[in-house]
């Protein structure tokens, strides 16, 4: 039978199942088929907090959401149009996210009374009318797959496992995806056992044909390719992009990359990624704790390496004292904080933006540190390079604030031309820079470059520049220990001036205000970029006028920031915290910025943001 084909501008699909059901892989595959097809995409996995919670339980549910469209996509989407639920737990855990009318594809084989009671379903939701608001497609995915694979020389377990490929085939048919990448992938993945490869391919095709033939689906959907700049694309997560950015910074600066780190969710994958790239001269040191991790990175920086440490909130707490030392030593250091929900252990796999003030002020004494934040998964690449550029140019520790949402989220990335990347020129000191009273040349480690106020970086092994540095206050210029009161005052202000001066060296804050006459500004930073962008778009489509500016540099602010925020009648600052950027903006510019805050461990829904913006416009 031929089916009706409906056009869609955008579709949001969530694959949900047990940790063992391979939903992440299914999502990844559908993503590359869709990328191949030419849609724009944004994806977000939702891992369970436990390693392997007992099968079939709510804590054990693993999900993957994908948003694709014929135009540029800014978020993984608010509410799924389609939910694939491999078991009752997956259905229950995700139901509240579904809008009325959404499609639900369920694997009926798993809806046994045992599984139902495991998650507290008194009655089978497929049989009572609790799902009446949705289009339910009840399909025995497991048994259909097993049946299709009868005769294959594989275990029953392996046959059952292939059910995710059946589901993928079905969805691929439903949205008319190109299947080559998946078939190629399966050949690669099961290269070692051709039988398994054949089986999974068969499962996939059976799923596709099932869609073709079954009554269960009367329509197919088509989502036209999106207009995207020409070039080579790949899908990339924030953590991978961040790791690549650090490697790129190392290549472009000629400084060997040294990572000192201690594993912590959601930052560990950066360590894992960098550990693979030894051929780039990358040294990864898994330290005994976070203090040793940042300490080793600082030691390597003293030796002339690009010293980096990666962590999340609890680790930043522990690194505070060493970061303060780096401020006093004025050595380059990049601290990557992949923010997660706090305080304390909080919700380790969930996202939050609540470490901004920690990055700004989390050290004793006056210890200013520049702060940079990426706005999207692929932007982690550029943000990492920028953090390294500032650190090495100004001889200062720099905070790079990503978060769990960016870290695990993915989007298509137009692979940049390497030669187009910023080049980072680091000149080590090689000569004495001062003359003793008797005219003899000597080296002053704290004699600053008048333009940047950066001090010379003389690495061990350089003859004639032997010097000692430390955390005790140093005499301006000579760097000798000094307890002189006014010298301390001078040095405190010099360190502050050096960081403030970076404002001269960063692009102005750009405002996106198509009509140019909006009187409400939405100011954001970090991972709220997507949701805010989608929200402003929605507001504008509804005829509203709103401007959007997004800060890459949180310290110092771009030079024009004050001028920008003062230009608008109202400034709305949405943050996944209790208003940390708002506090800085209000203090600095005395603008009555309005905070819109959500601390739920997940990105804002563009819908709720759009409403908030409308309210401010009306106000």
């Amino acid at each position: 039978m031929t089916k009706e084909v409906r056009q869609r501008e955008r579709v949001i699909i969530r694959f949900a199942g047990d940790s063992g059901d391979g939903m992440q892989l299914t999502g990844d595959r559908f993503t590359s088929e869709t990328a191949e097809f030419g849609n724009d995409i944004s994806t977000l996995p939702d891992f369970p907090a436990e390693i392997r919670a007992p099968a079939g339980t709510l804590p054990g549910v693993s999900a993957f959401q994908l948003h694709f469209a014929d135009h540029d996509v800014m978020t993984p989407g608010d509410a799924p149009d389609v939910l694939v639920a491999m078991n009752p737990a997956a259905l229950k855990a995700n139901l509240k996210a579904l809008p009325a009318g959404a499609d639900i594809i369920v694997n009926t084989d798993e809806f046994t009374s045992r599984n139902l009671s495991k998650v507290g379903y008194a009655t089978n939701p497929l049989e009572d009318d609790s799902l009446s608001a949705f289009q339910v497609h009840a399909i025995p995915l497991t048994s259909l797959t097993v049946k299709a694979l009868e005769g294959f020389a594989i275990t029953r377990k392996d046959a059952e496992r292939a059910k995710n490929m059946f589901a993928l085939g079905l969805l691929s048919w439903l949205y008319n995806r190109p299947t080559e990448t998946t078939l190629a992938f399966l050949e690669r993945k099961f290269a070692k056992s051709p039988e398994l490869a054949k089986a999974n391919v068969t499962a996939f095709n059976t799923g596709w044909n099932f869609g073709e033939t079954t009554e269960a689906f009367t329509v197919r959907y088509e989502v036209k390719p999106a207009e995207m700049p020409a070039g080579l694309y790949r899908n990339i997560t924030g953590n991978t992009a961040l790791a690549y950015g650090l490697i790129a910074a190392s290549v472009r600066s000629g400084l060997p990359l040294f990572l000192g780190s201690y594993p912590i969710t959601p930052a560990s994958d950066i360590l894992h990624e960098l550990a693979k790239h030894k051929r780039f001269g990358v040294r990864t040191f898994q330290a005994e704790d976070e203090i040793a991790g940042v300490g080793a990175a600082l030691g390597a920086a003293f030796g002339g390496a690009l010293g980096v440490t990666t962590t999340s909130g609890p680790g930043v707490d522990l690194k505070s004292e060493t970061i303060g030392l780096a401020v006093a030593l004025e050595l380059p250091l990049v601290i990557c904080d992949i923010q997660r929900a706090g305080p304390s252990t909080g919700m380790p796999t969930k996202a939050e933006q609540s470490d901004l003030l920690l990055a700004m002020f989390g050290r004793h004494g006056e210890a200013p540190v520049p702060v940079v934040a990426p706005r999207s998964p692929s932007d982690c690449f550029d943000a990492a390079i920028e953090a390294a550029r500032i650190a090495t140019t100004y001889r200062t520790p720099v905070f790079l604030l990503s978060d769990a949402y960016l870290a695990n989220g993915a989007e298509p990335w137009l692979v940049p031309d390497v030669t187009s990347l910023p080049r980072i020129d680091v000149a080590f000191a090689t000569e004495p820079n001062h003359a003793k009273a008797d005219g003899a040349p000597e080296f002053w480690p704290y004699l600053r470059d008048p333009a940047t106020l950066a001090r010379p970086w003389a690495v061990p092994g350089t003859p004639g520049l032997e010097h000692r540095i430390g955390g005790i206050e140093k005499a301006d210029g000579s760097g000798n220990i000094s307890y002189d009161p006014s010298n301390h005052d001078t040095m405190v202000r010099l360190r502050q001036a050096k960081v403030d001066g970076i404002a001269r060296d960063i692009p102005p804050l750009e405002v996106d205000d198509p009509t140019g006459d909006a009187d409400v500004l939405v100011l954001g930073w970090g991972s709220t970029y997507g949701p805010i962008g989608a929200a402003t778009r929605a507001v504008r489509e509804a005829g509203g006028k709103v401007a959007h500016a997004h800060l890459r540099h949180l310290n110092p602010f771009p030079a024009n920031t004050g001028e920008v925020v003062r230009r608008y009648r109202r400034v709305l600052i949405p943050e996944m915290n209790l208003g940390q950027l708002a506090l800085l903006i209000r203090a600095r510019f005395l603008v009555d910025a309005i905070s819109f805050t959500g601390v739920r461990g997940m990105p804002f829904k563009s819908g709720e943001l759009a409403d908030a913006i409308e309210d401010v416009i009306q106000s």
Binding site: R234, K278, E466
Partner: protein, 356 residues
């Protein structure tokens, strides 16, 4: 003990055209320790010993934490970092791992290394990073004006323990051996010759070399080691461990060697015996090269300053793979395997092209 064919501690450090002088290794900074502090003796010894190593001065780095001892780097005319309390071993690990061409010396007091920095110390030892870790053990917190430390004897009366401390101290040598250290030694601030010989062996050792230097704090713990220094007591208190020689100490006997000796007991311990009675042949012959640290550990329990008998010298010196060498070998291997192509890296994984 360096084994022929095995890399020595300084193997990858460029050698100097000619040996430097003590003066060249002395910085222009005014020394700020209390008059009479044991640190002066150690400084003098190291300033004259370092040039002997014959490596370029600019390739020597001294890293310390915080404390009186930790002021050390300021007084050496090499590269140096006076870091923060307890963290020097971690900082030095990063430097040594990324710069095999440097000779890295780490200095700290008993608070710096054994209290706040204890974890970094034992992990640096376990990893066998090519660092020379010198513990200046004065059994007190000097810089903060006299609180007890993790090496202070039980019952110590200090500002923070007005009726006496109650916790068992660490034996730094035992702790280091329990932490898989490959080179462990003990020496005394005032014994310039012994101090220098131990440091030379430490410098030769490839890997982490831990040296406990018993150091007198004139102001807050004066005389802590007098029993090892006073002519009337030192002979019967100091047990000098010398590789390959029977362990003897005490006032010289008929044969010129010490009257007392150390012997294995039948139940896994050591006993002090009278050499004339038992005969030298029955004494334990010191072997610092045992692969297992058991013998060294036994010797570390022979006694300490509190009960007089204190072994000094090299307890253990065995060669094993170092963390930094292996990390750099892995890098070299990877670089062998193929060129580092950034463009290829960025374009790795599933890609697709959007035509223009």
């Amino acid at each position: 003990m360096t084994v022929p064919g095995q890399r020595t501690g300084l193997e990858l450090v460029p050698t100097a055209a000619e040996k430097g002088t003590k003066k060249e290794f002395t910085s222009d900074q005014e020394v700020r320790w209390c008059p009479g502090c044991g640190d002066y003796a150690i400084l003098a010894a190291i300033q004259s010993f370092l040039p002997e190593l014959g490596v370029k001065r600019e390739n020597i780095v001294c890293i310390s934490g915080i404390g009186c001892a930790a002021r050390f780097p300021y007084y050496l005319n090499t590269y140096g970092m006076h870091s923060i309390h307890g963290r020097a071993p971690a900082i030095a690990t990063g430097l040594a791992t990324s710069r095999p061409d440097l000779s890295v010396w780490v200095i700290g007091g008993d608070g710096d290394f054994m209290s706040i920095g204890g974890n970094h110390l034992i992990h640096a030892l376990r990893r066998n990073v090519n660092l020379k870790l010198l513990l200046f053990n004065n059994r007190i917190y000097g810089l903060t004006k006299g609180q007890y430390s993790p090496t202070s004897e039980v019952g110590k009366i200090t500002k923070s323990t007005p009726v006496g401390s109650v916790d068992t101290p660490f034996n730094p040598v035992s702790l280091a051996l329990g932490a898989e250290a490959t080179f462990v030694a003990r020496t005394i601030d005032s014994d310039r010759k012994h101090l220098t010989s131990v440091l030379r062996a430490a410098a030769d050792h490839r890997g982490a070399a831990f040296v406990e230097i018993l150091q007198n704090c004139d102001i807050f713990n004066d005389g802590a080691f007098d029993v090892l220094k006073k002519p009337e007591t030192r002979d019967s208190a100091v047990v000098r461990l010398e590789h390959g020689r029977p362990i003897r100490f005490g006032p010289p006997g008929a044969d010129g060697g010490g009257q007392k000796g150390v012997r294995l007991t039948g139940h896994g311990g050591l006993e002090v015996v009278d050499v004339e009675t038992v005969g030298e042949q029955s004494l334990l012959v010191h072997d610092e090269t045992h692969d297992e640290p058991t013998l060294a550990f036994m010797l570390s329990r022979l006694g300490n300053v509190d009960d007089g008998v204190t072994p000094i010298g090299i307890f253990r010196s065995v060669t094993g793979p170092t963390y930094d060498d292996q990390v750099n070998a892995q890098l070299a291997a990877a670089e062998q395997a193929g060129p580092a192509d950034l463009a290829a890296l960025l374009a790795s994984g599933d890609t697709w092209t959007i035509g223009s």
